[in-house]
Structures are given as structure tokens and as C-alpha cells.
């Protein structure tokens, strides 16, 4: 039964809090510029911003892969009816920890590590507070979103 919830929810568009990857150009390139002659010129700031673009962009790429893999998971889930839910939970749990691991690897290598763990917890809590009244497909959407937020 195709109910057009998609159209409805689109109509009531809400701005989404963004991950850093989605706004990185704004954060890097915008904002008030203080005269170059009065501020301290940081050695390597240009390189640094290039670095940041690359690091954040690669995190973004991983997240896209993670989302794509997540979608595959769900398709498999719907076709394999009768499998205990526990198996799904285990599968997605494993996928998640694998993704996390890769991301943290990048962060550690290029940024020196666990800068945002408590913030992530906040994000997750916020997500969980949201009412989970919608259909299965929409809850999968919010799951992939919260995963995305995990590292941004």
C-alpha cells in the first residue's frame, strides 16, 4: 500500500541541523575577516584549511558508504522474512562499529582523536527523544541520519 507520506513530509520542509561536512565551505570561507595586518598570521593556515576539507570530505564519503550499506541491509531484511530480529540487530551493530572504527582511524590520524565524544552522546540522546511514531521506513531514515550525525 503506497501511502504518499513522502509528499506530505516534503511539503512541511524543516531545515535540518547539518553535519560539518555539509557546511564546511561556509565554516571555512565565511565569517568576518579581521585585517591581515593586525591579526597573527598563522603558519600553514592555508594548508590547514585544505587539510580540513580533505579530512571532512573523506569522513563524508565514508558516511555515504555507510548509508548506502545500511540501505542494502534493509533491503535484505525485508526480503528475508522470518529471520529473528536479533540477527538484524547484530548485523547493523557490527556494521556500525566497523564504520565508527574507520572514521575514528581517520580522525586519529589527522586530527589527533576523540574531540567530540560527549557531543555525539548528546546528539544520540536528542535523536532518541524524538517520537518514533512513523512507519518502518521512516524510522530507518532517522536511523541512518543519526548515524550520520554520529561523526559530524
Amino acid at each position: 500500500m503506497a501511502v504518499d507520506t513522502q509528499g506530505q513530509s516534503n511539503y512541511l520542509a524543516r531545515p535540518q541541523p547539518s553535519g560539518l561536512a555539509e557546511v564546511i565551505d561556509i565554516i571555512l570561507d565565511k565569517g568576518l575577516v579581521i585585517d591581515i595586518y593586525v591579526r597573527v598570521s598563522l603558519v600553514g593556515i592555508e594548508l590547514l584549511t585544505i587539510d580540513a576539507r580533505i579530512v571532512i570530505a573523506s569522513v563524508d564519503t565514508y558516511l555515504r558508504f555507510a548509508e548506502a550499506v545500511n540501505r542494502l541491509d534493509l533491503e535484505a531484511k525485508s526480503s528475508s522474512k522470518g529471520l529473528p530480529e536479533m540477527v538484524d540487530d547484530m548485523t547493523s551493530g557490527a556494521a556500525k562499529s566497523k564504520t565508527k572504527g574507520a572514521l575514528e582511524g581517520v580522525k586519529e590520524k589527522l586530527t589527533g582523536g576523540d574531540d567530540d565524544d560527549d557531543h555525539d552522546d548528546e546528539d544520540v540522546k536528542q535523536k532518541q527523544k524524538q517520537p518514533r511514531s512513523r512507519s518502518k521506513s521512516s524510522s530507518s531514515g532517522s536511523r541512518s541520519r543519526s548515524r550520520k550525525d554520529d561523526d559530524e
Binding site: 565554516i27 568576518l32 569522513v59
Partner: protein, 257 residues
């Protein structure tokens, strides 16, 4: 030159009485504590920073979070990422004192307003299909190149790519114009930003009155319905007014480079 105190990383400027107590941590490997430097009616949100270099993603993240945090509590003029002043005295003498009036004016302009961002992306295959079917020149050259061995068709292929690129640019202009025409009237100001990636159709930022965000969102919803089939829309915000933190916002303000 320095007063001997530590160098200060500057995140943004708020009105002095509104300077918030912040729990979030600033840039640096241990995450510096935030404080503010007040002069006249304005206060700069700062943290002490060592001589050492900043670290790419970590400090960008800190900068982003601090400003998100400040913007939740009060009006803020975001300062560009990576701005460091030699010390407290320099910050006051070289920035806050000479710019106090224009900063106050800019804060006034930004009061009660938020930045929203619209990004829209093409599905590449679909877009290129449209280009080929919409441009006889492209279709013709495509047929011609198809029948040529790779080496012989080198210049034709470049020419084909150039034609396609031009058509894509036209699509982008058309889609951006359509989005701006609908949303700009609901915003205080709008800016068309650099597309960034090849599949970007629209990259625009808007400064919107908080009371009009619902109305703006409704218009975005309608646009999404209309364009959603061709474009993947992302509607982001509200965020601190990064894109509108410049001198032209405040009429008659002093100039800063």
C-alpha cells in the same frame, strides 16, 4: 608587540551584556576554555591558544561548535576560521576599539535573523540525459565521437565535454534563478555561493527573520515538491550568520579588509 599574554583565538563578536557563559571547549589539543574580551558595547568570544599549529578537522569542529553554541543564546557575528590575535591588548586596540561602531551596527542587522542554506544536487545520469536530448549540437557531436577511434576523436571529445559543461552551467543558472526567485522575497538577504562540486545545482544562503522561518520553510517544501524529481534538495540550518558577517550588511559601517 604583544603584551606578553597568550595569543587569543577569536570565534565571534556579541553585544557585551549578552556574552554567554559557555561550556563548550575551544580549539587546541586539550580544548581551551572560552572567555570574552569586552570593549565598549561589544565582546569578542575568545580562547587562549598556544604557538603551535592548529589541527585541521579538530579545530574546525571546535570553531563550528562554539559558534553554534553562542548563536543559540544570542546574536553573534562569526569571525572567519583561523583568526588569532597576538594578545588581549591587540584585540582591543586593533579590532574591537576601531570597529566597535560597525560591529554594533552589524549585530543590530543580524538580530532575530538566522542563516538558512539551500543546496540542491543533480543526479548526473539524469542531468546528462537531459543535456543530450535538449541540445541538438551535443547530440550530434556525441554521435560523431561515438563512431571515432579514441585517439582520432581526441579534440572532438574535448569539444563535446566543453559543450556539455556549458549546458550544465546553463541548467545551474536556470535552477538557481528559479530557487532564488521563490525564496529571495521571503529573506532579508540572499547569496548565491560557489557551486563547489560538479553535481551541485544550487548553493544559496539566506538571512531570514526568525518569525518568517516557517513561511520560508513552506516555500522550500513547495519547491522541493516541484523540483524534487530532478534535484536532491538539502535544506540546512538555522546556523549562525557566517555568510552575512561582513561590512556591506551594516550601512555606513567602517571598512575592514
Amino acid at each position: 608587540m604583544s603584551d606578553g599574554g597568550p595569543a587569543l583565538y577569536v570565534y565571534g563578536v556579541v553585544r557585551a551584556p549578552d556574552a554567554p557563559q559557555l561550556d563548550s571547549l575551544g580549539v587546541g589539543d586539550r580544548g581551551a576554555r572560552l572567555s570574552d574580551v569586552v570593549h565598549g558595547g561589544v565582546a569578542a568570544i575568545v580562547s587562549e591558544v598556544d604557538e603551535g599549529p592548529l589541527a585541521a578537522a579538530r579545530d574546525l569542529r571546535a570553531h563550528w561548535r562554539v559558534l553554534e553554541d553562542v548563536a543559540k543564546r544570542t546574536t553573534v557575528v562569526p569571525v572567519r576560521f583561523g583568526t588569532v590575535m597576538a594578545g588581549r591588548e591587540e584585540l582591543v586596540q586593533e579590532f574591537l576599539a576601531p570597529q566597535a561602531d560597525s560591529l554594533a551596527a552589524l549585530l543590530g542587522e543580524l538580530d532575530g535573523r538566522v542563516q538558512l542554506s539551500i543546496k540542491a544536487f543533480y543526479d548526473e545520469e539524469r542531468l546528462l540525459g537531459e543535456v543530450v536530448s535538449g541540445s541538438p549540437a551535443v547530440a550530434q557531436l556525441r554521435e560523431k565521437v561515438k563512431g571515432m577511434p579514441e585517439a582520432a576523436g581526441y579534440y572532438e571529445r574535448i569539444r563535446l565535454g566543453e559543450l556539455v559543461s556549458g549546458e550544465v552551467e546553463r541548467c545551474r543558472e536556470r535552477d538557481t534563478a528559479a530557487v532564488l526567485a521563490r525564496l529571495e522575497p521571503l529573506a532579508v538577504a540572499a547569496k548565491n555561493e560557489d557551486p563547489g562540486t560538479a553535481d551541485t545545482a544550487v548553493n544559496a544562503t539566506f538571512l531570514v527573520e526568525e518569525e518568517r522561518v516557517a513561511e520560508f520553510s513552506k516555500a522550500v517544501g513547495q519547491l522541493t515538491e516541484e523540483l524534487g524529481e530532478r534535484l536532491r534538495m538539502r535544506y540546512l540550518g538555522p546556523m549562525p550568520p557566517y555568510s552575512f558577517a561582513d561590512a556591506d550588511m551594516a550601512a555606513g559601517s567602517g571598512s575592514w579588509a
